[in-house]
Symmetry: C2
Subunit: 301 residues, 2 copies
């Protein structure tokens, strides 16, 4: 288990996995030759805008950690793409004027600023259906059902979308720490944990492996959100590629607001250690996951 | 093959299938006990608002026509619910101010008029994920992949959502009949045809049966849209439960505009006959489908 230069390791992993994903996305987009060109441009605009691609990397690294073979890697790549499509659709809809009304995302104008509100809504809708289509067509037949179930349940009313509703309802309302944790477990945590689980499912993981990466994903998800909240206070828009200081402006509940900045940072570190601890039964095959966890807490954007 | 009182037969089928679906929806909605209450209210509001429920009936009747047994009927019911969720999500998003900006749907205020634009967007998003989740959890394992693929492909960039983009781009632009047919084949036809195919897939249909119900669904889809366009000209909002005359007001391309009213009606009748002809190899098991086809053309709302 390498402890040296974790962020550099993580960046290497993110870069390599991201390149695999981008190549695969190009191939996927080319399958929709009969779709309206402007719709596909809008989808491509947001899908190819970069970003850290943390979720796909978690899928691929969890598959590796669980010893996935060649066929498993194909299912994992399909899962990684499906996950990134769902994540991207949620950003496109979240940025809409009716929602967070953001102009900037990943350093570029948001989808609706370029393509209009109607097209942004439809592009988001289309990305969702594409995510499930990829699983059905590209993942191995015996894992399709489990992968669809995992992705759908993590995205839906008890997952990401439910969390967005809680986030909206929580504006200018004081939440308890417990309520805030529920919100984040759903809004951000569900997809991060599902990314880990889908990688394991693709690999045909044992129940013990699946439980371990689920725990890892849960702690990572919490750490991720705490750090996100902290960065919204301490970073500049240039660093983040999106507006900052928005949480306070919108009266959103955050860890820094509820706990203070330094206790938030300490809690992120606690979650990081717990996440790494979850991987104790894995050997060197989980070094990538350990590096990614440290990256999540140490990142500056 | 009963020719008597087709509409009455169809109404009986629609009513019976609709009741089965509503009971099932109640059970499905109860599974999301941990979701935000207001989100589930918004979803239930649109899902339980009635409507003809033609698509679910097509799924169930195609499964019957192909000789589906008990387990097949369970997969078909899951498919019917998934299909209605996708159809309903598309209506909720289509009614948004950024899209068609409609105030009335199925005789009631549209979702966003009651729950706000943000919640309507999220409710639509959630319905999509729920659709795929139901297939993964409730359909028989050996057909999940095919059903997910069918639903996703019919809904996505080359299906319904792509058709909505063409519809939007076609406003105040003159389309050829061929372009209009492509638009409708995607916007409305894809889901209607997929409803038929999912019923057949659930039943474990032969290739010949699947091809026959696909043809039936294709003709039915075209007939449905022609009649929809005609009714937008000839009906009142009271009859339709939604605004009428909107196509002309928005400069939309329709069959009556391109062909005239009477030729449109004749074309619908031609499609009806072709649809029924596609079922020639089926016996009395397809009587329900024949009745539904006649209903689609003879309906007054």
């Amino acid at each position: 288990m390498s402890q040296a230069t974790p962020s550099r390791d993580a960046l290497g992993i993110l870069q390599k996995d991201s390149q695999r994903l981008v190549d695969y996305f190009k191939q996927i987009l080319s399958r929709y030759a009969d779709a309206p060109a402007r719709l596909m441009e809008s989808i491509e605009y947001s899908l190819m805008a970069g970003g850290k691609r943390l979720r796909p990397a978690l899928v691929l690294e969890c598959c590796r950690a669980c010893g996935g073979d060649g066929q498993s890697q194909t299912s994992a790549l399909a899962s990684a793409a499906a996950m990134e499509l769902i994540h991207t659709f949620s950003l496109v809809h979240d940025d809409l004027p009716a929602m967070d009304n953001d102009d900037l995302r990943r350093g570029r104008p948001t989808n609706h600023k370029v393509f209009g509100d109607a097209m942004a809504i439809l592009a988001g809708d289309a990305m969702t259906t594409m995510a499930f289509q990829i699983l059905a067509t590209d993942a191995a037949a015996h894992v399709v059902g489990a992968l669809v179930q995992e992705l759908a349940s993590a995205s839906g009313p008890e997952g990401m979308i439910g969390g967005q509703v809680l986030d909206m309802e929580g504006e200018n309302v004081s939440l308890s720490l417990e309520q805030l944790q529920r919100l984040h477990r759903m809004k951000t945590g569900a997809l991060l944990k599902a990314s880990c689980r889908m990688g394991a499912l693709a690999a045909g993981a044992t129940a013990a492996q699946l439980a371990a990466v689920s725990d890892y994903g849960r702690h990572l998800g919490l750490a991720f959100q705490i750090v996100d909240d902290v960065l919204d206070v301490t970073s500049t828009p240039q660093q983040m590629g999106k507006a900052t200081g928005k949480d306070a402006a919108k009266g959103k509940n955050t860890y820094p607001v509820l706990m203070g900045l330094d206790p938030s940072r300490r809690e992120a570190a606690v979650q990081l250690q717990a996440g790494i601890q979850s991987l104790a039964s894995f050997g060197a095959s989980a070094d990538g996951l350990r590096a990614l966890a440290r990256f999540v807490v140490e990142r500056e954007n």
